[in-house]
């Protein structure tokens, strides 16, 4: 019944008049959530069905999203929102299963590695239990498999395997017949994520060849090198997909360029861990005001409000001393330091007060 408040134009308009909010259906959330958290309308709720350990520091969470969830394409990410100690945290993770699983069983999986010092990933590992409900947001990402079969090379590092798992399972289900190779780099044999699923894929799908390479088992670390690429038949004609730590991605891109593979045949998606805050780190950075389509670089302890004004923007403001919250605005990414508290923000999306926030590295603002 509540979906009518979302989907019918007339009822939605009426709901806005009656409840003074843009999402009238969510007006009843506070009454419905205690009865069943899956009835919430503010976000798409998803129940945790199962949690399985992949390695010592990686787990796969199987979720059952509410039926109205819009689904995804293989290789895409989803925003997950989780309340921890009263605060809502939004983080982006790759979906690690095929969209067919969502279509057939109504289930999706996220495969998540603990980030050292990461609040959300560690909380999910330590406190999230089957039966709990978390929020799902939009799915997005252009890391997508070819529409027409063509030879493909995947290079994955560590937890960078997650979107590729979704892609491989989708391709296997379609019996994708062009050759597909995966070079999967892990630190040690104990760090292989989804080993069983990968071996099952290889057995049932003749076009697929798999090499799992442990980098830290020998005397010296062994990274991606020319020998690995020489072993891939018909490399020049392949479309390449890279996902993993920054070092591996840079190395792979260089080696592929050297072999004459053009940028439009190389697809990357990044999974960089946020850099830990260092005392004495210099302040400032590149600030992007997304709505105004303006990017400026700031140096030193200058507030985002001053930076915005220096860039000829006129954000709403009031007291300019952190009292009135007139200048609150959404930071979509990046780290800022609150001048009043001296605290460093998280890297994700959150509301900040422009007048007392100083950028620390690149920051994206919805302004």
């Amino acid at each position: 019944m509540l979906s009518k408040l979302e989907n019918s134009t007339t009822l939605r308009w009426l709901g806005k008049q009656l409840f003074n909010r843009e999402d009238p259906a969510a007006f009843f959330d506070p009454l419905l959530a205690p009865l069943d958290p899956m009835l919430v309308r503010q976000y798409v709720p998803a129940r945790v069905e199962r949690i399985e350990a992949e390695t010592a520091d990686t787990k796969t969470f199987t979720l059952k999203p509410a039926a109205r969830w819009g689904g995804f394409r293989a290789g895409q990410h989803v925003t997950v929102s989780i309340d921890i100690d009263g605060r809502r945290h939004n983080r982006t993770f790759s979906l690690s299963c095929s969209p067919l699983r969502w279509q057939k069983e109504g289930l999706v999986t996220l495969t998540i590695k603990r980030l050292p010092g990461g609040l959300v990933t560690n909380w999910m590992h330590d406190h999230l239990e089957p039966g709990a409900v978390i929020g799902l947001g939009e799915t997005f990402g252009e890391f997508l498999i070819p529409g027409q079969p063509e030879p493909v090379l995947f290079i994955a590092g560590g937890s960078g395997i997650t979107p590729i798992l979704s892609q491989l399972e989708t391709m296997a289900a379609e019996q994708y017949h062009a050759p597909v190779t995966l070079l999967y780099f892990v630190r040690t044999q104990a760090d292989i994520i989804a080993a069983q699923r990968l071996h099952t894929l290889r057995q049932g799908w003749p076009a697929f060849s798999l090499s799992i390479l442990a980098t830290e088992t020998g005397a010296a670390p062994r990274f991606l090198n020319d020998d690995h690429l020489d072993a891939v038949p018909g490399l020049r004609a392949r479309r390449c997909y890279l996902c993993g730590p920054g070092g591996l991605m840079e190395l792979a891109t260089d080696l592929l360029h050297q072999r004459g593979i053009a940028d439009d045949h190389i697809h990357c998606t990044f999974f960089a861990a946020p850099k830990a805050a260092l005392a004495g780190d210099s302040l400032g950075g590149e600030v992007r005001f997304s709505r105004s389509d303006v990017t400026v670089t700031a140096e030193g302890e200058v507030s985002l409000l001053d930076i915005a004004e220096a860039a000829s923007l006129s954000p709403r403001y009031g007291c300019r001393m952190g009292i009135c919250h007139q200048c609150s605005c959404t930071k979509t990414s990046g780290t800022v330091i609150n001048r009043l508290t001296g605290k460093t923000s998280g890297p994700g999306e959150e509301k900040i007060q422009l007048c007392v926030s100083v950028p620390k590295g690149p920051v994206n603002l919805e302004l």
Partner: protein, 359 residues
């Protein structure tokens, strides 16, 4: 105003900042649970009020429905809307509780409130000529304003303002006094008037057209109940708000005093320009914890349910600096407000003769 040296003001700033930092560092699950509990209470009361109202032809049900809806509006305006819009819950990062997008169940738009209240009133608290909330440009409450014969009837204006309080607050940003003085033109106020008409229309449509018509055969009963609920909210919120800055000992300031003021001076002005009243937990909830107006003005963006906890520490600081901490019973404080409204309705000559007489 209490005079403190620059050094004392700096110390005062540090002492108050220490309380603020401590609460900020402690914000978490407890605060989130509190505001969500209050929101649940609001939704329950609103649903109960709306559902019972059509059965208001039974007198006790009419009373229950009107009271439930009135309380719902009071709680939504005072403890949820006012406090959320101050940014008290921004740290929760819940889009439904964000200061800049929240819209409340009253005529005044959230945007207009954020400008006139959060910014003007909280920055220029009790500065005559800058804080338009001081007397709402309708009442003469200090001798900074020259008396004229119109003021002698201001008690009637006060009663009218209280009865139609949500409309008064809604139209506050029109700045009629400046329009009269021709400092601004009607044309400048067109965008505001449009917003006011939209939100005022929305509120009137909901309570006075939609819900009565929805239950057509009993429309007059539903209409009467909804008018009653709005009236209850108007009288209560007006009374609470008047007790915040217009009590006998709440001080006023001049623009000159506040030029280039330090944060310490701003704190001092908040402490001496505001007044509290005592009461039970229910009174604090229904007043949106504006019964702790002093704590609210010093820390407008700390979750209001924390004010009772930090109040003893604020009082201790006031005692240490010799600052008067203005509090008293609800009836006592409200009595001094009524006296102030009446007193300043008189010409200065009559008032000073009355004041000279022993009470």
């Amino acid at each position: 105003m209490q005079k403190l040296t620059e050094a004392q003001l700096n110390e005062l700033e540090k002492d108050l900042n220490a309380i603020r930092d401590e609460v900020l560092a402690d914000l978490g699950e407890r605060d989130a649970r509190y505001i969500r509990k209050v929101i649940r209470l609001h939704r329950s009361l609103e649903v109960a009020g709306r559902v019972m109202m059509p059965f208001g032809f039974i007198p006790p049900v009419f009373v229950a429905a009107t009271t439930a809806l009135g309380l719902a509006k009071i709680i939504e305006n005072m403890e949820i809307g006012h406090n959320v819009m101050h940014g008290q819950y921004d740290w929760m990062n819940d889009p439904a509780l964000h200061s800049q997008t929240y819209e409340w169940d009253t005529v005044c738009t959230g945007d207009s409130w954020r400008r006139t209240h959060n910014y003007e009133h909280h920055t220029y608290t009790n500065v005559i000529g800058k804080d338009r909330d001081y007397g709402y440009a309708v009442l003469r409450l200090s001798d900074d304003v020259k008396w004229h014969p119109g003021h002698s009837l201001q008690f009637i204006n006060y009663v009218l303002l209280s009865v139609f309080f949500q409309w008064g607050v809604g139209v506050h940003e029109l700045e009629t006094e400046r329009l009269r003085r021709r400092e601004i033109r009607w044309k400048d106020k067109l965008p505001f008037l449009k917003e006011f008409a939209r939100k005022g229309g929305r509120q009137a449509f909901k309570d006075y057209v939609f819900f009565p018509l929805l239950t057509f055969p009993v429309a007059p009963i539903v209409l009467a109940g909804n008018v009653g609920a709005n009236l209850i909210r108007n009288l209560w919120s007006s009374t609470v708000i008047f007790c915040g800055h217009f009590t006998q000992d709440a001080e006023t300031f001049t623009e000159a005093e506040c030029e280039n003021e330090s944060k310490g001076h701003w704190y001092l002005r908040q402490l001496t320009g505001s007044s509290n009243f005592t009461g039970g937990k229910l009174v604090h909830l229904l007043s949106g914890h504006l019964s702790y107006q002093i704590e609210h003005h010093v820390f407008p963006d700390l979750p209001a349910h924390r004010y009772p906890e930090i109040s003893p520490r604020v009082q201790e600081i006031c005692a240490r600096y010799g600052i008067h901490y203005n509090t008293g019973s609800f009836a006592g404080q409200y009595g001094t407000v009524i006296k102030r409204i009446l007193k300043y309705s008189l010409p200065d000559g009559v008032r000073s003769r009355l004041e000279a007489q022993p009470a």
